[in-house]
């Protein structure tokens, strides 16, 4: 007696080819296969299909699929020497130069006001304050004041002369602008040298880093 073959039977037959049925199901199938020729023919046809698939020629890749650091998105580590010239150091140096340059520029631009600015900290640091200098200014001889007094103190001194010269008497000539300039207003050549050196260092750092990273990445590629 033969039973109609269901998909479930075919699924079990297919699985039995690969040993993927339970022992109980396998023995039931075996018993049926001995009596049902159609079922046996189905099993055989499925086996042939599977064997044919297993004979399918294997193709080998014509190229290798190795990943490069670039493909994998790996950034090559920076060479050991280069971190000394890292971007952060270069930027810090750049800020330093800006600060230095700004300081120097302010000395150039506000050269006339600089002595006043320099005079105030003296008061804080224990030196004579503005009021003190006003008080003591009349005591200072005119020759000395040309070297040390600020323009403000000098102008404040003008309306309050200590004595009125007699008509025809020669008075001391007012100090000219050149005489008012203090030694601190002139440019220190060492600052220029330092600024030049710092700038050269920044440029060297940037160029070295760029060259180093480029060479390293080329090697790593």
């Amino acid at each position: 007696m033969t039973r109609q073959i269901s998909f479930r039977d075919l699924k079990d037959l297919s699985a039995s080819l690969d040993g993927q049925v339970s022992r109980a199901k396998g023995s039931r199938l075996g018993a049926r296969l001995r009596h049902e020729t159609e079922l046996a023919a189905e099993l055989e046809s499925l086996r042939r299909v599977r064997d044919l698939l297993r004979q399918t020629p294997r193709r080998h890749a014509r190229r290798r699929f190795l990943l490069t650091p670039r493909m994998a998105g790996i950034k090559p580590p920076v060479p050991r020497l280069v971190p000394a010239f890292s971007w952060a150091s270069a930027l810090a140096l750049l800020f330093f130069i800006f600060t230095l340059g700004g300081s120097m520029l302010s000395r150039f631009t506000f050269g006339a006001a600089a002595p006043m600015a320099a005079a105030e900290p003296q008061g804080i640091g224990g030196g004579p304050t503005r009021e003190e200098s006003m008080v003591t200014a009349p005591d200072v001889e005119a020759g000395d004041s040309a070297l040390t007094a600020t323009p403000e103190t000098l102008t404040m001194m003008v309306p309050e002369p200590t004595y009125a010269p007699a008509p025809g008497e020669r008075t001391t000539a007012p100090p000219d602008d050149n005489q008012l300039k203090t030694p601190t207003a002139s440019l220190n050549p060492w600052m220029l040298i330092w600024a030049g050196l710092a700038l050269a260092l920044v440029v060297a750092a940037l160029v070295t880093r760029w060259l180093g990273v480029r060479a390293f990445r080329r090697r790593a590629r």
Binding site: S14, A15, D18, R50, L52, A61, R62, R63, A72
Partner: protein
Amino acid sequence: MDEPALIHAAQRGDLDAFNSLVLSYQDSLFNTALRILGDEDLAADATQDAFLSAFRALNSYRGGSFKAWLLRTVTNACYDELRRRKRRPTTPLEPETGEGEEMESPRWLADPAASPEEQLDQAELEHALQHCLEALPTDFRAVVVLADIEGLDYSEVAQVAHVPLGTIKSRLARARLRLRDCLHGFGELLPAAFRHVEERGA
């Protein structure tokens, strides 16, 4: 270095270790992609994409068969390609014979070590099989390629396809039955043993 050690090193970002794994499995992944997609260039692209995805997602690998894990990535890459192809269908260029007719299968891909007759038989059989494979629904095709061509066991196929074992059995049985019916149409191209059985069974 053994495979677990290579995987561990690759997970820490060692690209050389990962490339050693690539060399071990590239033929398997390429062959799977080729059988699913039926095109060498697309298969090569899918294989490359799969290895790249695998490297990026390597930390999500939690043990088990590494080959199955890699085959899952290539199967996904093939599914992506098939979806793309469905959106933008193209006609493949077939090589021409001396008479200017299109050849159905590129013969120069055959194994050069075989005799001309064997090469011809092999090429024809491969063409017939590939034709029938491509006629299968994608899910069935992937399962039959993994189980019968790549030789994975059912649990590995289930891991790759991310479906239960029962579904794998069912898909594989349906795929084999459909392939059997499809291969009937190629009669004389099939090996003698296959033809005799089919004639007896018919």
